[in-house]
């Protein structure tokens, strides 16, 4: 093939490529050939939520308490529950995926005009159900110790203020007023700490001892703080009546309470079991007796659940098994016998309505692990549309102004570069449309992606600027037009390549570590940079080689300013 024919062939390929990409990018150009139109019109750009409206919810899954090898299952089960919730809203377009990591996250992307609030509240009421069993005695002891240590500083403060109060009384302070101010005993709080008549043995031993054996006269107070399980008391004897067995004393006291681990027993005696909302098959409301008695919620487990529950009941005979719902204990029955039927009941002082509500919630899926909403982006459909229109307008304006600038400055060459720029844009749009058809990685065009696309339009002509400046220099150095063009392309190549490398380096970093906005931008910018190298160098060169000839050498003003 002669050089001339080779160029003609390449030129024909360029024209074919141009027509194809324009057809794909803008199917209406072939509206007059319905079958072709139908065919190309099928490929659509996959618009991101920020352009079509919709929302994205990101839930963090707390697997910190789950054993390492069970984590994946737990997350999967949580995802299944969320999927059920999403499907209940009647959509098929929502996307639910799990992102591994610590902690793992479940992401729901929901296109359309619906408000995020409905699904959010639906998910929010999803119960987190887990069965817990008692820790062994040693662990309990250790936990109790830990709790007591945790409470110690506060208790010390209480003791000190009790001591200070006693000191004030010794210095003549008014007992009634101080009792009004400081007494923390809930039973006598409103009565300035005044208690009813008591007999010996009615009160806690330490209190009892001080009151009955403390040799107090009526109206005298006990000179030391009295420590009981409730805290530190300052005790004053008011009245006495009766003798011997019937001796009764009326007293007044100021209590500064103390907290013990025992008060927080629920928090430390239980540990998680494997039995969770994941194992729930069905729930029902049942009544202990016919009709009148209180309602209970009956849980039926699946195969795994029944087996686990049997094991739990077997090893916890005579101990408590606690049922936790949304991290709160709702029932902690003592195991009487091993249960193999795979059923359990929750007795939680429910009203009938409450029991029914709980049943409904559990039946819609209970979570094996707690989840938390950590991020939400929702874009109203109208805003999405406006964003799309605005950014397209910006793109068209940018393209047009860059084109005008190139033509004004580089004249004929600029005109060719502008044509190449249009081909570039059509090819980019075709890539967006075809990405989902020819590969498994559809490119989702987001607002940031459009920004990247528009920016790449500005960068795409950079290569042409470099080439044309070089051609001009070569012409100034006295070359003829044909060889100046060839030299220009050859010599500008290294600068173009190097220049794009650095943009690609930073874009790759952004794709790697970025999420959302940043990633969308960087992906499109990278594709744009690579594709624009092709259009600005290969296409422009072929077009120039094909049409530049004698005719333009005679009209050099079309290329460079006359000196």
């Amino acid at each position: 093939m002669s050089i001339q024919n080779k160029i003609r062939l390449k030129f024909a390929l360029v024209i074919l490529l141009t027509i194809t990409s324009i057809t794909i990018a803008y199917p209406k150009t072939v509206k007059f050939i319905p079958p072709v139109f139908e065919f190309v019109n099928k490929a659509k750009i996959n618009l991101g939520l920020d352009l079509q409206g919709g929302y994205r919810l990101e839930y963090e899954v707390d697997t910190s308490k789950v054993e390492e090898d069970k984590k994946e299952d737990a997350v999967q089960a949580a995802q299944d529950v969320l999927e059920r919730k999403v499907n209940a809203t009647g959509t098929s377009e929502a996307l639910i995926q799990t992102v591994a990591g610590t902690p793992p996250r479940i992401i729901i992307e929901y296109p359309g005009a619906k408000s995020a609030e409905d699904l959010k509240s639906l998910i929010k009421e999803t119960p987190y159900l887990i069965f817990k069993e008692e820790k062994n005695e040693e662990e309990q002891k250790a936990e109790k110790q830990k709790f007591n240590e945790l409470l110690a500083p506060n208790n010390e403060k209480s003791r000190q203020s009790a001591a200070e109060t006693l000191q004030k009384i010794k210095e003549g302070g008014d007992f009634n007023a101080l009792a009004k101010e400081f007494n923390q005993d809930p039973g006598s709080k409103d009565k300035d700490g005044v208690l009813d008549f008591v007999k010996k043995g009615d009160l806690v031993p330490q209190f009892d001892e001080a009151l009955f054996n403390g040799n107090l006269k009526n109206g005298e107070y006990y000179p030391e703080l009295v420590e009981t399980d409730y805290g530190w008391h300052i005790i004053k004897k008011l009245e006495e009546k009766g003798e011997g067995e019937n001796r009764e004393i009326k007293a007044q006291h100021i209590l500064l309470s103390k907290q013990t681990a025992e008060m927080y027993r629920d928090y430390w005696i239980y540990k998680d079991t494997e039995l969770t909302g994941k194992n729930l098959k069905d729930t029902a409301v049942v009544f202990t007796d016919q009709g009148v008695s209180e309602p209970q919620v009956q849980l039926k487990f699946d195969g795994d659940g029944a087996r686990i529950f049997a094991e739990i009941t077997k090893r916890n005979m005579g101990k408590q098994v606690a049922i936790y719902l949304d991290d709160e204990i709702i029932s902690a029955p003592t195991v009487q016998a091993e249960i193999t039927a795979g059923e359990a009941v929750i007795t939680g002082n429910f009203t009938v309505d409450e029991a029914k509500e709980l049943k409904r919630r559990l039946n819609e899926g209970a979570l094996p692990v707690p989840i938390k909403l950590v991020s939400q982006q929702s874009i109203g459909a109208s805003l999405g549309k406006v964003s799309l229109e605005k950014s397209l307008k910006a793109g068209v304006a940018g393209l047009a102004i860059v084109g005008i600038f190139m033509i004004l400055y580089y004249r004929f060459f600029g005109f060719i570069a502008t044509i190449a720029l249009f081909i570039y844009s059509a090819m980019m749009i075709s890539v967006f449309k075809l990405s989902g058809v020819v590969s498994d990685w559809p490119i989702t065009l987001t607002l940031s992606g459009i920004a990247g696309f528009i920016l790449s339009i500005g960068m795409a002509v950079d290569a042409n600027v470099l080439i044309f400046e070089r051609i001009k220099e070569e012409l100034r150095d006295g070359r003829n037009l044909g060889s100046a063009i060839n030299e220009g392309f050859r010599r500008a190549w290294s600068s173009i390549r190097d220049g794009n490398y650095s943009t690609i380096i930073t874009s790759m970093i952004l794709i790697w570590v970025g999420t959302g906005f940043v990633k969308g931008f960087a992906v499109i910018l990278t594709i744009g940079v690579v594709l624009s190298m092709f259009t600005a160098i290969v296409l422009v060169k072929i077009i120039l080689q094909a049409i530049v000839g004698e005719w333009i050498s005679k009209r050099l003003w079309l290329v460079v300013r006359k000196k």
């Binding site: 990101e58 930073t506 940043v518």
Partner: protein, 322 residues
Amino acid sequence: MINIIGKRKYTYIVSSILVVASVFILFFWGLKLGIDFKGGTLMEVKFSQEETPEGTPENNFSEEKQNEPKEFKSPSREEVQEKVKDLGLTSLNVQESQDNVVILRYIGSDEDLNQKVVEKLNEFEGNVEMLRVDFIGASISKQLKQNAILAIILAIIGIALYIAWSFRKISHPIASWQYGIGAIIALAHDIIITLGIFVLLGKFFNVEIEASFVAALLTILGYSVNDTIVVYDRIRENLIKSDRKEGFESIVNKSIIETIARSINTSLTVVIVLVTIVLFGGESIKYFSLAILIGVLVGTYSSIFVASALMVSNYNIEYKRK
């Protein structure tokens, strides 16, 4: 030929003042971080007239009705602030935007709090449309911060390696690493001034820095380094061609003049598209594009007036020492 290098004293003064001022305000005022990095919520709410049948007796806004019968008055900034006051939102910032749109921002929130805010806003008269809700929890914002730092570190390493690679061939009359240092100083100059401008925008126009700002900075790094490299490349080429009688300073100046058209034109095309995005592209990508725009402008200036001048100054110092 214009002597650009000869006037480097002035560009040094201008650049030094800008860089020092930027570092100063960056240190004292700092960037205004947005919800991406601090965690929090951004709500864009549009208020509009409830579509009620004509003639409904709704005369609460009688004054407005006299002037413009169909004009709808959206709640003002103060009214919105008053409405959500009881919720005790941290660092609440309410902004009025165009078309009866109000933007609320607050820090450190949770799902329930957002729900309450929505409820409160719904108490206003007329239609209340949530155009946009962005909520970033603490764990996500922490991750975004880490990613941003990681991206910047990687970019510094990547660009440094790239510069080292670009200058592997240059050696005479000054060592290639000195070109590298020159290019890095120019880049630092561009980034610092861009940051400085965003400190001012944050201070006076409430412009917040989001994760996208880091992407903008990296894009500036990737794009601006080229201009500098192209000028340096030309210096190298002219050094090889020159008979050694021609002074270094004049070779550098010649190289700048030869490449100035391409430097300006390549930047100009990018500037054109960025300006169109800033003007027409809408709120969400406006400041992102503005950041790149500023960086590209400063970068073009520095590669023409600072980067090469630094080489000459450096050469003169070395020459005098010998």
